[in-house]
Amino acid sequence: MHIELITIILFAFLILILITGLPLAFGMGGVAALIVLILQGPKALSILSGVTYGVMDNFILTAIPLFIFMGLILQHSGVADDAYEMMYKWIGGIKGGLAIGTVIVCTIFAACTGISGAATVTMGVIALPAMLKYNYHKSIAVGCISAGGALGILIPPSVLMIVYGVFSGESIGKLYAGGVFPGLLLAGLFIIYIAIRCYFQPQLGPPIPVKERANWREKFISLRAVILPIVLIIIVLGTIFNGVCTPTEAAAIGCAGSLICAAIHRKLNWKLLKNACYEGLRLSCMVVWIIIGGSCFASLYTYVGALEFIKGLVAALPISPYLIIAGMQVSLFILGCLMDPGGIVMITIPIFVPIIKMLGFDPVWFGVLFIVNMEMAYLTPPFGFNLFYMKAIVPKNITMMDIYKSIVPFVCLQACCLIICILFPKIILWLPQILIK
């Protein structure tokens, strides 16, 4: 068979199977098994078990369940409650202050954890009732939590960056360093948007009444809420950036640290530990089984020669490399509406990264752009994790349509951030260059 035909069949079949609703992991793995079986016969199926053993004893991937566990412990540790209380005291009095505070707490949380769900669920439980109580409009209240929560995958540590790093062969430390400024830029854009919008339309985010505001003494006492998270951030990220620890080791230290945080807040008990273990297994298996299925599928690219074929195709295109980058981003955005970001990494990265290298771009830069793009994937319907998390939390009078409407301005801001990072690569590349030798 011709390579063109095989490549087309490969993808057409995968899309067909995924549309039928079979879980991504089994869909990708099953298609891989079928194609290998047809092309090479049953003996060649050992390629699948070989790939799976490779995922099973990968020490870098071991960081994934650890970061997930850490996020789940922090979610129930009471750290976010105190931090939000602090925000309420300091900036509750300005227009849109509680929503801005939500974004700031999400940013701090994102620097402690590597998943988007932890901050979204935590802030949905803490900040949403507070904002609704003070008559914030639901579009601002729901939107800032969904968008702020998604920062978790961009601001290091990040589980998605580990997946990208392992399968593109890039250093996780560099990717983490690269995510810092785009993450802060995005959080800054959210804050500026909320501040401007609420300044001109105060009914969207009214300041809290004067008599409920805190005095200076209370404000300063509340500051101790951020001590623990900041210590945790310094330990986890500091050890990674210094090269003292691998990301996996830093993740384990972070787990221990978050258990200590929970103990200090007197929240550490059997129920919390048990639930975090159960939930952690479920989330970790979801991610890593997609990696297993996806690695099986991706091994086909080189196996049938699809990679060389696509590379040749792109090289022959008579267009500017930046147009190719733009095309990739658009296709990632579309995939992001439909699919889980883990699956998107596994399907696209083994193809995109060799092309990026061929065109002479920096794969770290592209990796962070990819993550910024996936920020949108968490928010865009019909498939967006943060939409599902929000739907499970919001009171009954907020419909799915309200949630969809609330994220529109934030997705636009994320798109702006993506474009800024494409036009000014230094935003991403400056920190990895000075931090990591």
């Binding site: 609703g21 793995g29 050992s46 099973m56 996996t248 530990l273």
Partner: protein, 165 residues
């Protein structure tokens, strides 16, 4: 039949619950390594390898639990809008893809585990632990996953044929 399905569910649930605590062991193992390296100046030779193996076991043995909890994500743009009976009909077809994936891993994983066991294979590193228990995890874990998938398949058939009766 219902008691068989119940049994499969219970197996998945309890292996998952037990395995889920491996993450706490992993945390302490790796923290111990960091402490041993920087505070005691005595890096271990065994943490790196054993924690990778524990990670593999954690993920593979947790697959069935995750399926039982409905935790494996899918694309539900089209599928999510279908009626339960149509979903069941489609699932009965896609089960064969799932079976092919599980079957390959059980067969080929079992094959390499068997060879490893026959030779009492060791990893060949400085620590040099036996590697066959780790290799056995793959066919075992995927078999549990397959059982949970089979339970879903039987349930789908029940949905389809009950409607017809």
């Amino acid at each position: 039949m219902n008691s068989l399905l119940f049994l499969i569910d219970e197996i998945s649930k309890w292996t998952g619950r037990v395995v889920s605590f491996l993450i706490v062991i992993l945390t302490f193992l790796i923290c111990y390594e960091v402490i041993a390296r920087y505070l005691l100046n005595r890096p271990t030779i065994w943490v790196h390898e054993s924690s990778s193996m524990l990670f593999g076991a954690y993920i593979i043995l947790g697959g069935a639990y995750t399926l039982y909890m409905g935790g494996h994500v899918n694309m539900d743009v089209v599928y999510g809008r279908l009626l339960p009976k149509k979903k069941a009909l489609i699932d009965v077809f896609t089960f064969w893809i799932f079976l092919l994936f599980c079957g390959s891993l059980i067969w080929m994983g079992g094959d390499s585990a068997w060879r490893s066991l026959k030779n009492f294979e060791h990893s060949g590193s400085l620590w040099n632990p036996p590697i066959y228990p780790f290799k056995l995890v793959l066919p075992l874990g995927v078999f549990l996953l397959f059982l949970q998938g089979l339970a879903k398949f039987i349930r789908d058939l029940m949905v389809i044929f009950k409607e017809r009766l």
